[in-house]
Each structure stands twice: as structure tokens, then as C-alpha cells.
């Protein structure tokens, strides 16, 4: 039982990170019907930016450590958001009227470009967040241990997700995002600048990915320029599990994936955990072809 709860907490932690990244996939997909294969690289760049900021003098002690970490997260988010907007403008906007597969290949090109750019800047070897970047505090709650980073990850991720949810559901601009996702042309007839909405999506999505990147960098400490693909794939899986295009779906999908993965690692073996996860994904899609919260698409005849 202790193992179960421990793996559940671990799963929630990793899952919250997946959710943040999955939100980027799902929002881009929702509005543009396009899988942004470079999204995992936004996550990766976030973790590198965070690494640089943490390693620099920022954590000098002028402000409490947890506040300094929040600053790092925010700055990395801002940096990656700018890159996201540039990528959209340069590599995706010219393709908006082409076939979806064309955009997929362009995104793969972007991904290769970003990975190699990071490799040239930060070097090809593994980098590690300095050990003093995270306070080694651990709490014992009812027989299980929870450390500082887990709390930070859960707090920041859930904070960001709630904020995003309220923004999308409660504001007029949020409604405009949902409207654009349903129907570009009609959204334009409402006076919504669809280009602007897409730019906004490419600001929010990569920023969330960057936050996830910093958090996971702090959690596992080691980062590498290829991790974007690994985590990107996981997050994409999470988005599909939840039903791609659906914002609560991405949140649920991420958490579910994290928990499944950690339970798989705990009860089966960590070597087979990904097989377990993908098998569940396939089974899920066999019975619910559009994911957990995905809309039923009945083709009009």
C-alpha cells in the first residue's frame, strides 16, 4: 500500500509535468489541427534556459530559494514563449493553407534545427543542474516521503493549469480561442484576429512547456538536448489519451499517463513501463477512438 501511494505521488508529479507539455500540443492542435512536433523542444529549451539561470548568480541568496526558483521559471517561460512566436511566424504561418502533413514535416525540421542549435550553444554532453539549486527538504506524511521538488512541481503545475483554465473559460479572449478552435472563418466574422489568437497560442503553449522543462530539470537534475523528443512523445501521448484538442483532456491525460507510468514501473518493471503505457493507450483508443474526453466525431454524410 505504501508503494502504491508513493508511486501515486511520483506519478502525479511526473504527470503534472506531462500535463503542462500536453497542453501545448492540445492547444495548437485545437486551433490549427496540426501536431507541433517541435513542441517537445520548447520543453527542452526551457530546461536549458532554467539551467543557465540557476547556474548564474541568480540564486545568490538575495531572495529566498523558492522565490528565486519561481523567478527562474518565469524568465524561462518568457524566453521560450518568444522563441515559440518566432517559430510560428517563420515556419508554420506560411504553411497554414497547405496540407497537414506538410506542416508536420516543417515541424520536424524546426525540431531538428532547435535541437542542434541547443547542442551548439550548450554542448553535446549531458548537463546537470547544480546540486544546491534545490533545497533537500523532505516531509513525511502518513508513512510516505514527499520532497520539496514534488511539492513545488505540483504547486506550480496546478497553479498554471488552473490559471489557464480560468483564462480560457472565463475571459472573452479565452472564448475567442475556443471559437477559433471551432471555426476559423466564423471567428474572423466576429472581428477576431485569428493570426493574433494563433500567436497567443504559441505564446502560452511553449511557455507552459518551458515551465515543465525547468521543473523537470530541477527534479531529475540531468538534462540533454535530445530529451525534447522523449518527453514530447510522452506528452503527445497524454494529449491523445485525453482527447486531442481538449484542454481538460490534456490535463487529465497527463496525470493519468504519469500515474500509469509510475505504477507500471513500481509493479511491473521500469524497463517495461513504456510498453505498459503504450499498450494502455492502444487499448483505450480501440474502445474510445477519440480519447477520454475527445468529442465524438460523426462524419457528415
Amino acid at each position: 500500500m505504501a508503494l502504491f501511494i508513493e508511486q501515486l505521488v511520483n506519478g502525479l508529479t511526473v504527470g503534472a509535468v506531462y500535463s503542462l507539455v500536453a497542453l501545448g500540443y492540445t492547444m495548437v492542435y485545437g486551433v490549427m489541427r496540426m501536431i507541433n512536433f517541435a513542441h517537445g523542444d520548447f520543453f527542452m529549451i526551457g530546461s536549458y534556459l532554467g539551467f543557465t539561470l540557476v547556474s548564474s548568480a541568480l540564486l545568490g541568496g538575495a531572495i529566498p530559494l523558492w522565490a528565486a526558483l519561481i523567478v527562474v521559471v518565469v524568465l524561462s517561460m518568457a524566453g521560450v514563449a518568444i522563441i515559440g512566436v518566432i517559430v510560428e511566424r517563420a515556419a508554420y504561418r506560411p504553411l497554414r493553407r497547405s496540407s497537414r502533413l506538410t506542416a508536420v514535416v516543417s515541424a520536424i525540421g524546426v525540431s531538428i534545427f532547435l535541437q542542434n542549435a541547443v547542442m551548439l550553444i550548450w554542448g553535446p554532453r549531458y548537463r546537470a543542474y547544480p546540486p544546491w539549486s534545490v533545497p533537500s527538504i523532505t516531509w513525511q506524511v502518513g508513512g510516505i516521503y514527499i520532497n520539496f521538488m514534488q511539492v513545488l512541481i505540483l504547486a506550480v503545475s496546478f497553479g498554471l493549469m488552473v490559471a489557464l483554465y480560468l483564462f480560457v473559460q472565463r475571459t472573452t479572449v479565452g472564448a475567442a480561442i475556443r471559437a477559433t478552435a471551432i471555426d476559423h472563418d466564423t471567428a474572423r466574422l466576429m472581428g477576431i484576429d485569428v493570426d493574433q489568437i494563433i500567436r497567443l497560442i504559441f505564446l502560452i503553449g511553449p511557455a507552459l512547456g518551458a515551465a515543465a522543462g525547468v521543473l523537470l530539470g530541477l527534479y531529475y537534475r540531468q538534462i540533454h538536448f535530445t530529451v525534447g523528443w522523449t518527453y514530447g512523445l510522452k506528452a503527445f501521448t497524454a494529449a491523445i489519451m485525453g482527447g486531442i484538442g481538449n484542454i481538460p483532456g490534456a490535463m487529465v491525460g497527463g496525470l493519468l499517463l504519469g500515474i500509469l507510468e509510475m505504477l507500471g514501473a513500481g509493479y511491473i518493471s521500469s524497463a517495461w513501463k513504456d510498453v505498459f503505457v503504450f499498450l494502455i493507450l492502444i487499448l483505450l483508443l480501440m474502445f474510445r477512438p477519440t480519447g477520454l474526453l475527445g468529442e465524438r466525431i460523426a462524419e457528415k454524410v
Binding site: D183, R188, L189, I192
Partner: protein, 244 residues
Amino acid sequence: MSLLELGDVHIAYGNVKAVKGIDLVVNDGEIVTLLGANGAGKTTTLRAISGLLRLQSGVIRFGEHELQTMPAHKIVELGICHVPEGRRVFGTLTVEENLNLGAYKYRNDPGRVQSGRERVYQLFPRLEERQRQLAGTLSGGEQQMLAIGRGLMSDPRVLLLDEPSLGLAPKLVQEIFRTICEINRQGVTILLVEQNARIALRVAERAYVLETGRIALSGESLELRRDPRVQQAYLGVKEAAGLS
């Protein structure tokens, strides 16, 4: 007096020409209707005016502005609103959210949005009862009301209506058209695309008849209704006589 003017407008989809040189004038305060069969280019013309389609050549003038190079959202801000064919309400948004989006250009002015909603609820009391409901759960007639109401939220000078009668029961069609007349009386100029020529020619002052991308006929509704060519092609008068 002309508020909206199209000069020699050409539009193509790929290499298929949809509109081949249309000249059209809408005067301030009028209801003008655009008639024609499926595929004649009516909807294409409206989409060009509202900026959803680019022209191959030609001019669209609105007051002192030229619209043909303007993006759609700017055109809405100028005061032209297009209520698209098939209603196209945002089904997973509530009625109220749909209306608020109609007033997107006033999004920083909640008072204005509020008064806009009140005006719409006055025209369509049924929408007020359903303001919290998802638009997708409304009946066809209610969706059409919402689509028109949503259009009015931007406080347009010109309303482009595409097939408001489409798929509606005759009784509802009458209700919708009664409201259209009411909106016009409130000072909104209307350009109406309709397949239901009979009813369109009743509410409109003037009409243009499109045939395969060109204007085949135009004039006062009254005259057109008496024009044998129109009667034959669109009102089924000959067939009606044959039936009885």
C-alpha cells in the same frame, strides 16, 4: 447615398472562377437581395465583402474605405457584419458567450456589450431564456436567431445575411424575416442572400439576380417580381400554373 459598392469584382477558387465581374450598389438604409441558384456566386460575393476571400481584381468600397485588401477583423470594426450561411454558431459555447464574441471589438467596454445583449434579447426574447445553454443544443430556428443576434452585437451599419431561411420551417422563416425588417427599421442596412426568392423579393427594395458568377438581372423588387424571366426561373409561376 451608396454605402457599399462593388466594382467589377472577380473571384476564383484555384482555377475555377466563381464570380466574374460583379457591380453592385447598396444604399444607406436599404434592404437589397442577391438571388440565384446554388453555385451562382452569392455566398462567394458575401465572403469577399467580409474579407474571408481575396479578390482576383475589382474594388469593394464602404464609405471612404476600400475593403478588398483589409483583413476580416478590420472590416468588422468598420461596421460590416456577415451572418454566415448555415448559422455556424459556436456549438460548445453558451448563448451568452456567443453573443459576447459578436461584440469582440467592444471587449474592453463591458457596458457596451451589456447594452448590446439587451438589444438582442429584446429582438429575440427566446435567447434570453436560454442564455446559459450551449448553443449547439438550440433548435435550428433558435440558432438562426442567435447567429443574427450575434451579428448585431458588433453594432453594424451593414448586415450581410446569408440564407437566413435555410432549413427552417415556414413559420419560423416568417418570424425571422419579420425580425429582419425590424432590424432594418432600426437603421441597419441589409444585404440579403436568399434562395427563397419569393420572400426575399417581398422584404427587399431592390434585387440582383446572379447566374454563374454574373449579374443577369437587377432592379426594383416590384419590377423583378413581374419580370417573366424571374417568375419562371425563381418563382415557379409557370409550373404552378401547370399544376392546377
